[in-house]
């Protein structure tokens, strides 16, 4: 379980807050989507959970332990992270990239290799074909599959995903979303997923936290939010795509 309590972040020593008092609880096995437009503080919120960004105020606990009371390196190794920029190491093979955290943890080569091959199958990249290729030989979608496999390597209980499919074309994005759902049903993980894409949020989320200007506007299941938007902002956010879809229906 991940709990955020009145978490704030200011990058200009208190003048303005990128994240302005966020409290939320993510239950075991749940997928929580942080949804909002750019600059709303969703990525900052995510990064604070593994201390890529240090909170200015408030507390964050993972499995009941305050993240500021434990070693930052151990914390990060215990949480899987999928990055918006993917960030594969260009000089390592796909298998080496997938198992790089295991290397940091000092696991022997054979075990790392076995785990990498296993995970490549999980993300639908046939290991026999891809394990020994290099990232520059892969498409963007394939690279991010490797990014997901890498995040799963040390079998973390938690997965933080920062707009992982944002840079991919619509078809590939759709495919990866479906695969993430499939992976999730096989390996129970608690996931916090950041996106600005409403449809992605609706597809993946157990619950959605709609963020705006550093605060949470509403948090609830997709159905709750669609049926009973708590604020005008939320109504507008979900209203526009719904209108567009209606227009599209009429034209068709």
């Amino acid at each position: 379980m991940i709990v955020l309590d009145q978490v704030k972040k200011s990058f200009d020593s208190g003048e303005t807050f990128a994240v302005d008092g966020i409290s939320l609880t993510v239950a075991e096995g749940e997928t929580l989507v942080l949804l909002g437009s750019s600059g709303c503080g969703k990525t900052t919120t995510l990064k604070m959970i593994n201390r890529l960004v240090e909170p200015t105020a408030g507390t964050i606990t993972v499995d009941g332990r305050d993240i500021m009371q434990q070693g930052v390196i151990e914390l990060r190794r215990s949480i899987g992270y999928v990055f918006q920029g993917i960030g594969l190491m260009p000089h390592l093979t796909v298998a080496e990239n997938v198992s790089v955290v295991l290397r940091l943890l000092g696991e022997p080569w054979e075990q790392r290799r076995l785990r990498a091959l296993e995970l490549l199958d999980v993300v639908d990249l046939p290991a026999a074909q891809y394990a020994d290729q290099f990232p520059d030989e892969l498409s963007g979608g394939q690279q991010q599959r490797v990014g997901v496999a890498r995040a799963l390597a040390a079998n973390p209980g938690y997965l933080l995903m920062d707009e992982p499919f944002g840079a991919l074309d619509a078809l590939t994005r759709d495919m990866l979303q479906q695969e993430l759902l499939a992976v999730k049903s096989r390996i129970m993980k608690t996931i916090i997923f950041v996106t600005h894409d409403i449809f992605e949020a609706l597809t993946l989320a157990d619950r959605i936290a709609v963020m705006h200007a550093g605060r949470i506007e509403q948090i609830g299941t997709p159905a709750e939010i669609l049926k009973r938007p708590a604020t005008d902002f939320v109504r507008d956010l979900f209203g526009k795509p719904a209108q567009q879809l209606k227009l599209f229906d009429k034209d068709g």
Binding site: I73, R76, Y81, F83, G85, G87, L88, H91, V101
Partner: protein, 211 residues
């Protein structure tokens, strides 16, 4: 034909001077790598130190080489010691600059991933940053090596030996063949070294999949 005969006659001497020249170059380039790479890492890490380090290295670079040799001869005396000291100083700047440029040029996405996955600072430096910066660092070493071979010919002036001996002896005795032999040998060494290190750089780039 006379020139070839001259080379054959002087082959023993040529070998000795070439070895001396390689020694001067090798020792000073290695020392410059040992000092320059950590300095480059330093200024990539703490941009505030950049100004001071590059400023000093830049000033050193502008001192004419003959003047530098003369200057260093005062505390260090004649022979190889002041020559090597001068060569190290000249070789430093390209290595420092390229090391820092190579490190700064590593993709921020890759660095963020390394941090987020739980690399320590040291692991990030050795497993990610230095390997990815290596081709750029080697390009700096190549520049330094070529500069060093050239300036090492001047160290004959302060009794450090090397291929410069042929050139200066030839100049003082009017022996054109000696001059030519010295020039050809030193230039070939610079070309070959530059080519060999350039080849290493390209091979490494391919090996690391950095295009």
């Amino acid at each position: 034909m006379d020139f070839l005969q001259y080379i054959v006659d002087k082959r023993g001497d040529l070998l000795v001077k070439t070895a001396q020249h390689l020694m001067l170059t090798g020792v000073s380039a290695s020392a410059a790598i040992c000092i320059g790479v950590p300095l480059g890492i330093l200024i990539a890490r703490w941009p505030r130190s950049r100004h001071a380090v590059l400023g000093i290295a830049g000033v050193v670079q502008t001192i004419p080489s003959v003047a530098m040799l003369a200057l260093l001869m005062i505390p260090l005396g004649l022979g190889a010691k002041p020559a090597i000291a001068a060569l190290i100083l000249y070789a430093l700047l390209p290595i420092v600059v390229n090391t820092s440029a190579g490190l700064v040029g590593v993709s921020p996405d890759v660095l963020e991933a390394a941090d987020g996955l739980g690399f320590t600072r040291r692991q990030r430096l050795w497993m990610v940053e230095l390997p990815l910066a290596a081709p750029v660092i080697i390009a700096g070493i190549r520049t330094s090596a070529v500069i060093t071979v050239g300036i090492a010919t001047l160290s004959a002036l302060i009794g450090a030996g090397g291929l410069g001996d042929f050139i200066f002896r030839g100049l003082s005795t009017g022996n054109n063949m000696a001059i030519t032999m010295g020039v050809v040998a030193a230039s070939s060494m610079a070309l070959l070294l530059g080519w060999a290190i350039g080849w290493m750089e390209k091979a490494l780039k391919r090996r690391l999949h950095l295009q």
